[in-house]
């Protein structure tokens, strides 16, 4: 046996696995090195080092009763469990646990699409269902609803939502945890709870009113460790009739401030789907003189950047807008957005993009016929899962830092400058520069991306990436920007930055953790929340 959890004897671990094999069937208990290889984080920057987090075993229950059995056996022996849904959380730890030797509870076999409802627009699924599976179920049932999928599409709606993943359609569906409606979870004592209306026996509105009555604990299960989620409901978008897109450019760097304000208005008024920002000046980054300007220490002046844009004959910024709904409504919304922005920002230009009846043809889905170079992920915009995004994965994958920042142009400029300067010492591509555009994935916030690649055969490179990640988290936090999601090896560092009131939130959550999970068996350390038993393990301290 390669790895044991802290404080657990080999005999107890073996006894627990034997009992789990009785409960689940021996075929669904994995403990050989060969079996456990795929439970490592293939994107890990600490691969084969002492800091890598490795599972001690894995089990794959087929239903809720088997999950309860696993939890009760683990509690008997004080063995930490780490639940995964489809295990595709790449860039954020993959299927690997927070605590070495944990038993991964692999929920892939729980893959039922329990309900798809196109009258009240929701789905209820188990954690092993992937976005591909849910899309297929919607198609096979002929349901008139769209899913909102992230990239890539092999992840789980449950797992992605619990990681607060994001998608590409309308704002209130892009926030996947925000779009959930109803959770069922197995608690550390083996009991099954349902949140919201699911707690009311006989209720028919579990997927329609997420709150029920009293405190809503649903948020405790997202990036948390208060139970193993076994069912989850999601709101779905009624299948729209028509899709329309358009491009708006603005000439000067400072125009971005007004552009963002206008798009915020359009988005918060539910007129547009994902607004995809970009800078046409990014095409100049291959030129050494422009690269030097865009990454100038302290930030380049607006005047110099405007001069570079003017010399290149390029606008400074662009945004692609997307509209869903009846054809006439999308036309009116585009006309309104175009006129609103172009009349307010001197020099702004609008180009009408493709529009077509839905569902898209294969060519429309392939996004090959826009009259301009588009940055839109068309599959995502159409709610069609795909693995096409994997084309951006380099080397052996990457780690991800996606700091949250306000939806303002000024905040974008600040993050460009601060993070560019902070990460200058690291020999990495310029993730932050004067042309870095915000990602508008979450409903009401921007993010930027820092995702350096890892190289399994180059430990020195990985060590540099690791230092850069930690510095990025630290520097961002000093400016009020926090990461939204992190791999187990970075969760303590990120959680440390959410320190208001001398870590009052963490104390509250850890008090709750101790009460609900006194043995600390469910994903200790996840989200930076450590049960009393492991609290000294915070950020790599290993005693249990």
């Amino acid at each position: 046996m390669a790895v044991l959890p802290p404080g657990v004897s080999a005999a107890d671990f073996a006894a627990a696995l034997s009992q789990m094999a009785t409960a689940l069937g021996a075929d669904w208990v994995f403990s050989s090195d060969d079996d456990l290889g795929p439970y490592r984080d293939s994107f890990s920057p600490v691969w084969d080092t002492a800091r890598e987090r490795r599972a001690g075993a894995a089990v794959a229950p087929a239903d809720v009763a088997q999950v309860q059995s696993v939890v009760r056996i683990a509690a008997r022996y004080g063995i930490p469990l780490f639940p995964i849904s489809t295990g595709k959380n790449f860039g954020y730890g993959g299927p690997s646990p927070n605590v070495n030797g944990s038993i991964v509870v692999d929920l892939k076999r729980m893959d039922r699409v329990i309900e798809v409802n196109d009258q009240r627009h929701f789905a209820l699924v188990e954690p092993g269902v992937s976005y591909f599976d849910l899309y297929r179920a919607v198609q096979e049932r002929g349901a008139k609803v769209w899913i909102d999928c992230p990239d890539p599409g092999w992840g789980s709606p449950v797992g992605n939502a619990l990681e607060r993943g994001v998608g590409y359609t309308m704002g209130h569906f892009r926030d996947h945890f925000g779009a959930h409606c109803g959770i069922e979870a197995v608690l550390p004592n083996g009991e099954v709870v349902r949140t919201g209306m699911g707690a009311l026996p006989g209720s028919q509105s579990w997927q329609e009113y997420k709150y029920g009555f009293g405190p809503d604990p649903a948020g405790l299960f997202a990036q948390g460790n208060f139970g193993i989620v076994t069912k989850m409901g999601f709101r779905l978008m009624p299948a729209p009739e028509h899709y329309r897109s358009g491009l708006i450019t603005v000439p000067r760097r400072r125009d971005f401030v007004a552009l963002v304000d206008h798009v915020n208005y359009l988005s918060d008024s539910f007129m547009v789907g994902e607004a995809v920002y970009g800078s046409p000046l990014a095409s100049l980054m291959g030129r050494p003189d422009f690269l030097a300007l865009a990454t100038k220490p302290g930030g380049a002046s607006d005047t110099d950047l405007d001069a570079a844009a003017s010399a290149a004959g390029l606008p400074s910024w662009q945004v692609e807008l997307q509209f869903y709904g009846p054809e006439a409504a999308t036309a009116a919304q585009w006309a309104y957005a175009r006129d609103r922005i172009c009349s307010a920002i001197p020099g702004a230009k609008a180009v009408a993009g493709e529009h077509f009846s839905l569902p898209p043809t294969p060519d429309q889905l392939a996004n090959t016929t826009q009259p301009y170079h588009s940055l839109i992920r068309r599959n995502g915009a159409m709610g069609v899962p795909s693995l096409g995004i994997w084309k951006i994965v380099r080397d052996n994958g990457h780690v991800g830092f996606f700091p949250v920042l306000p939806r303002s142009g000024e905040a974008c400029f600040d993050m460009q400058r601060v993070m560019c300067d902070a990460l200058r010492e690291f020999p990495l591509p310029p993730f932050f520069s004067a042309v870095t555009a915000p990602l508008y994935w979450h409903t009401f916030a921007f993010q930027m991306v820092f995702a350096p690649s890892v190289k399994r055969d180059d430990p020195a490179h990985n060590a540099m990436v690791d230092r850069a990640m930690r510095k990025a988290v630290e520097v961002a936090a000093k400016h009020g920007w926090g990461d939204y999601r992190a791999a187990p090896i970075y969760q303590d560092a990120v959680a440390d930055t959410y320190s208001f009131g001398d870590h009052a939130l963490r104390r509250m959550l850890e008090s709750m953790k101790d009460a609900i999970d006194p043995q600390g068996i469910i994903a200790p350390g996840r989200g930076g929340i450590w049960p009393r038993r492991y609290r000294e393990s915070r950020d790599g301290r290993t005693s249990a």
Binding site: F30, D34, G37, P38, A58, G153, R377, K391, D395
Partner: protein
């Protein structure tokens, strides 16, 4: 009597002379497994947003530079033992796949399917 018999022969000809036998059950299973787990990255179709190939197919095209076909369905050199190495161990940007996702029998079925699809492929 000859005329109806000739008509009957003509009617059956496409079936009796040209129809291929139904693929073996392992091939059919392999087709389903490949379609679910492999084709979204390693299929022969185009990629997203103007990309000429899917990511896995593009990666193999870059790796082998035409020495072997980039699309797995045209590969003749991927028996189950080789697939086990790549599926369980990953390679490059491709992660590992767990037995709870793709069983050893599934991998054998993929191999059978690839033997079937690559039967007429160039070497």
């Amino acid at each position: 009597m000859t005329r109806p018999i000739l008509w009957l022969i003509a009617a059956l000809a496409p079936v009796t002379l040209y129809a291929k036998p139904a693929p073996a059950p392992s091939v059919q299973r392999g087709q389903a497994v490949f379609g679910k787990w492999c084709a979204p990255c390693h299929g022969a179709g185009r990629g997203d947003d103007g990309a000429p190939m899917l990511p896995g197919t593009a990666a193999l095209a870059a790796r082998y530079k035409g020495a072997v076909p980039a699309a797995l369905q045209s590969r003749r050199d991927l028996p189950a033992e080789a697939l086990q190495v790549f599926v369980r161990g990953g390679i490059g940007a491709m992660p590992m796949f767990r037995r709870a996702e793709v069983s050893d029998a599934d991998i054998a079925a993929i191999a059978a399917y690839l033997r079937f699809t690559s039967a007429g492929a160039r070497r």
